[in-house]
Amino acid sequence: MTGISILNGHAILPGVNKAKPLNVHIENGKIASVGKTTPIANQLDASDLIIAPGIIDLGVFKTDKPAFRFGGITRAALMPDQSPVHDDPATVRFAALKGKPDLWVHPLAAATQGLNGLQMAEIALMKDAGAVGVATGRKWIADSGILLRIMRYCHALDLPVFVHSEDAGLSGNAVATAGETATLLGLSSASPITEALAIARDLLLAEESGAHVHFRQVTTARGLDLIRAAKAKGLRITCGITPGHLFLSDNAVSDFRTFAHLSPPLRSESDRLACVAAVADGTIDVIASGHDPRGPEDKRLPYSESAPGMAGAETLLALSLNLVRDNVISTGRLFELLASNPAKILGLNAGQIAEGYEADLILVDPDAPWQVDGDRMAALAGNTPFDRLPVQGRVRHMLKGGKVI
């Protein structure tokens, strides 16, 4: 029997705001007990560290193990926007096995063939191959009929549907949110209501179908208002955001900084503040990295020709800890957003420190200072709009299935 005891640390238990001095005992890859029981022979000292559930990153675009290891990410839900698109069982099965044993990749299946938004993909076969959810990809599905049928199908298969919330008719070829920055730079832009417009339709479809719909990124005040109202009504919906939209507004695009080219585009400062408020009031369920490493061939281009996306895995935890330091949320709530809520959405027996759960743990020094440096990142590319930013919070140890990695 293999086991390990993590001693002298402060553990975050489900439903508790603050980390408490507790020992965590692991046996056979699972959390055996939490508390004052006799330590097992193998011991890991966690003095001055927080023992937290490993981050479950809900919606990444690349399997990037060094970046995930740095960022304390033990599981990642992989978007189907790959080359080739994850729209058949073989590619899904391959993706699911790719990270093991030290990283578990949970593939999200393409909702439509080739993500074309027109014909349904083989969702049930992909589920059997390891898909834990279905996603529309980087784009919105314009055809309400096909999306409703997908939602009904997924409801029957008990799979969550991840949607992208930008009405393509309104957003067109926009690379920025309409406003002073876009006007100053002469960038094609769209009104921020493009998001609320898409959410309004998808909420109706969610209600009609009964499916669990996850709005992967909600970034505007009006979008969040719709989500808040729908939740109050009891709809089975969840939503997420990335640190980019929580900590940057569209003026980060000034000087044509393509590293700040995200999808959806960065919003106004008032929308950004609404996002922070929505984290505080519980409207937002998930914080994810949206990890999308992009090299110079995608980013060192004129702004409108550059690809959207940022390498976010390494900075996810440190940036999110700002929410705790700024008294927006408690440490306990932060790890609900980073780990236990994503686990619940995907139906995983992980994401919290409780008996019988997978022993995916990170030992975090929440105050350790470091500086984000795009040139020295572990990720496949260093495209971060937070370059040179001083941050706090480092992962000192990581355990996946009870093994220190």
Binding site: A178, G179, E180, A182, T183, L184, L185, G186, L187, S188, S189, S191, D255, F256, P296, E297, R300, L301, P302, Y303, S304, E305
Partner: protein, 331 residues
């Protein structure tokens, strides 16, 4: 009429202090005196260009200027070419249609290639906002933006201001109406920044679909009604409407556009009696401007704009290459 100089010539900072920038990428961010310095410098080239058949100055002799145009242009390219040649430079034109850009070379690689050829100045036009700034960060020589996407076209704004200065004597307090596809217009942006910096009042007029969001923050008064905007105008600046935007996406049809936003004699009468008519060209006669207005002998400054364009571009090439030429006082 010559302009009443707002500053005496000796009131500009000495040496490179008068225009302390390596490149000319846009008007946004320039100081008032920097703009005025370029305009003042351009005056001597207006005089030279009018001086007869031997209009030549050899100060850029031996320098190589590359006009790298990634987007089609006739008049701006020609204007820069003439400007360079009148100052004695060796001018080379690179057209995107004939270049390796069509073969898939990235913009950065093209920039590095131009740089390796040791140009002394590169003039760039590109269809994408920010592209010229991107190239300027990768080359050693001065870069002049000859228009990037919907972002800026600084020499157009400078030549427009010079034209108004010469016609009206001053810019301060002038009411300038800019009408047309403001959303996609780099000319409108550069002119707005330039005219506001020089103290003019700027009104922008566009159909709602072609009015950029938040432009009021840069000091523009916005109008959708052209007639209302013309009241008391000293200058009416018309913008070119791209053909591809007239087919129902933004504008129902060219004739409907002319009905609401075309400048004809009736509308011109709503402006001040001596109001100046301007257009950056090339004009769509009958779409944004009526022929009799465009050709009006006293009111239209359209051909004068072209003339000022050469002078302003000579001034820009002269000023930005002073460091390379070891001109005294330029560090």
């Amino acid at each position: 009429m010559t302009w009443t100089q707002p500053f005496a010539a000796d009131s500009f900072p000495s040496g490179s202090g008068a225009f302390p920038h390596k490149h000319l990428l846009g008007i946004a961010g320039l100081q008032k005196w920097e703009i005025l310095y370029i305009l003042k410098e351009a005056e001597q080239w207006v005089a030279l260009n009018r001086s007869g058949p031997a209009k030549h100055d050899g100060r850029l002799s031996g320098l190589t200027i590359i006009n790298a145009f990634f987007e089609n242009s006739t008049r701006t390219l020609l204007s820069f070419e003439i400007a360079g040649k009148r100052l004695g430079a060796d001018v080379v034109n690179m057209h995107a249609a004939q270049s390796s850009v069509k073969k898939g070379e990235t913009l950065i690689d093209t920039a590095m290639t131009l740089n390796a050829m040791r140009a002394d100045a590169i003039v760039i036009r590109h269809g994408s906002s920010g592209a010229v700034q991107l190239i300027s960060s990768k080359v050693d020589c001065p870069v002049i933006n000859a228009g990037d996407g919907s972002h800026e076209h600084p020499t157009q704004a400078l030549l427009d201001s010079l034209t108004i200065m010469r016609r009206k004597g001053r810019l301060e307090g002038q009411t300038v109406v800019i009408c047309g596809d403001v959303l996609h217009s780099r000319v409108a942006r550069s002119n707005l920044f330039c005219l506001k910096t020089l103290g003019a009042e700027v009104r922008v007029v566009a159909p709602p679909a072609l009015m950029p969001s938040g432009i009021e923050a840069f000091g523009a008064q916005t109008f959708t009604n052209f007639d209302a905007a013309l009241d008391g105008a000293d200058v009416v600046m018309m913008l070119r409407l791209q053909n591809e935007r007239m087919q129902g996406d933004f504008i129902p049809s060219p004739r409907e556009y002319f009905h609401l936003y075309g400048l004809d004699e009736r509308r011109l009468a709503l402006a001040k009696p001596d109001a100046l008519v301007m257009h950056p060209g090339p004009m769509n006669r009958g779409v944004e401007i009526a022929s009799n207005v465009a050709d009006h002998v006293e009111r239209s400054a359209i051909t004068e704009q072209v003339e000022m364009g050469v002078a302003v571009r000579m001034a820009c090439l002269d000023i930005l290459t002073r460091k390379a030429r070891g001109q005294e006082g330029w560090s």
